[in-house]
Symmetry: C2
Subunit: 344 residues, 2 copies
């Protein structure tokens, strides 16, 4: 059976109301609030149909209806009202992107913060993937007699710094030479291309600097691999999450927070949910990871010039303000792409 117009209207009404109130919606409520011109009894019949079709369900026999995951899916695909952001939302987003921020990481962090603030859900951010991130610049600076600063900059503008010990026998022109050699050998490579082989080649080239090169290369290998870009940044207004009726039960809340602490799981979830250059919505049991099946995830992946700069994700109860979340994510993504484009 296809959904006729009236069923669709009723479904939309139920879902909109449920998203707003978190209470099961009964036929009376709909008849009263949305003047469709039919009686509760008729609505009841329609709702029974909708339930049979899998769009709604009942918490128990004599309660109103709540949307099923399938219902939410239909809603997101076809029914969702386009939510225009209001003045306050816009200005807040604006303010962030108007500050001159030159570093991708900082920018992303700020963006996550504003999203979390605007949506009151948990925001997760993942930086550019290792595979696509290229080393752009390497340099060793001296900061005092026996200490130096190893700098790495990727093509995404991510800066890494590490304080290192500089052996006695290395002077400033040595450092310059080393920086140059590292640059010419490593710049342009993706992080995963920097293997022990290349490292060994460099060492062969400059046996006189063996000691310091060992230090440098060790740090490079160790830190580029699991740099911060790869770990998710999580901005959770924990206290705000506890406002949702879904988390009134401490046990449920604890589950949620524990999930957030399992970074590998979160990474997997974001990766599997997100699609290049698009906003995706993963609802409840659509998620392959069983632990996340009563949550929904909305992601937006930031693509510029075909390069994956990372993913924003929002996690919350399946009863989520999808339309608002999506608008905000669209908006922020837009700004971000504009801003970053000028940076690269």
């Amino acid at each position: 059976m296809m959904l006729d117009e009236r069923k669709i209207k009723i479904l939309a009404a139920v879902i909109n109301d449920y998203i707003a109130t978190a209470e099961p919606i009964g036929s009376r409520t709909i008849a009263r609030k949305y003047r469709i011109g039919i009686s509760p009894a008729t609505i009841r019949n329609e709702m029974a149909d909708l339930e049979e079709l899998g769009y709604l369900s009942q918490p128990h026999t004599s309660a109103g209806r709540v949307p099923s995951h399938k219902g939410y899916r239909f809603y997101v695909d076809f029914l969702m009202p386009v939510k225009r952001l209001d003045e306050r939302d816009h200005t807040l987003i604006h303010r962030i992107f108007n500050r001159r921020i030159n570093e991708l990481e900082q920018l992303v962090k700020e963006a996550a913060r504003v999203i979390s603030k605007l949506t009151s859900y948990t925001t997760i951010t993942m930086g550019p993937q290792l595979e696509t991130s290229r080393l752009k610049h390497i340099h060793v600076n001296r900061i005092d007699e026996n200490r130096g600063l190893l700098l790495t900059v990727t093509n995404y503008g991510t800066v890494g710094h590490h304080i290192i010990d500089i052996p006695q026998n290395i002077n400033d022109s040595d450092l310059l030479r080393i920086s140059n050699i590292l640059n010419s050998n490593l710049a342009g490579k993706t992080l995963s291309e920097i293997t022990n082989d290349i490292m060994d080649a460099i060492k062969d080239e400059m046996i006189e600097y063996d000691e310091i090169l060992n230090i440098l290369l060790e740090i490079l290998l160790e830190n580029l691999g699991d740099s911060q870009d790869n770990t998710p940044v999580i901005s959770t207004g924990s206290s705000k999450m506890l406002d949702y009726p879904e988390f009134q039960d401490v046990e449920k809340a604890k589950n949620f927070f524990s999930l957030l602490e399992q970074h590998e799981l979160i990474i997997k979830a974001l990766k599997s949910s997100s699609k290049p250059n698009a906003i995706t919505v993963t609802i409840g049991n659509e998620n392959p990871l069983t632990e996340l099946q009563d949550l929904s995830i909305v992601t937006s992946s930031i693509f510029i010039d075909g390069k994956d700069l990372g993913v924003f994700g929002i996690m919350g109860p399946t009863r989520m303000e999808y339309s608002r979340v999506i608008s905000i994510l669209e908006q922020v993504t837009d700004y971000l792409i504009k801003t970053v484009s000028t940076m690269l």
Copy 2:
């Protein structure tokens, strides 16, 4: 009335038991568990005295006793058993400080993580105070035709980096000159000493570089002021905090998390609690900030050569494993001071 030995024994028993179980402790329990050789009735009398003296209180007339803030204070000052850390704790701490970490910030972050892990309470960290932090090294590196990297290193080893635009007319030797000038003018100054006056002096010295200097100085002023060192880092195993019976009520948990989100308040709390070079315990209403009066805070401030490198704080319910927390904090502080001393 002074506390005689028997009263003290009973007080210790009540507090130890209450810390372990979070249940009000009755006279029977004590008679059974701690064989003091007196009957429950006698214990009851003593407990009534202890209550009158303000060391214990009753949640309601027919319940057991729980420690009052005054009771905890006495416990911390005189009764607390010295808790030796066990093997597992030691090895965990060891592992962290054995990794070669060259940067203060990273080190502190790791230390906070391990404390939070070992204690299951919320750990807060505050970096060195602005007033004492001195600029050690400034440098501008070029990373491509029109982009550069402004680096700042403080005497604590905190590294700051900022990507900047480099005007067309500036070449590499200009950059070097600029770096040198900045260094000679600013190195050694505390961050708060770097005022507009000094900046103007520098600009006067090098009018030909006006454009880029403006950019650099603006960033310096803007970012050194409210650098990360000044904001508290909070490691909260949120999910673990939710295990404590004190936070079983969602409302209470929400309060706690909201508090953590008010950074200014947290900063104030840590500042007013901590004492140079010492471990402090602030129990419940001893805290001047009313919002924190049913929590306890244990702090340890890291002092080296008379310089304040920052503060660790642990926040949790007043029913806290004080002796364990203090041992862990002592231990970590020790290691940290040793490690950092070699760094400076």
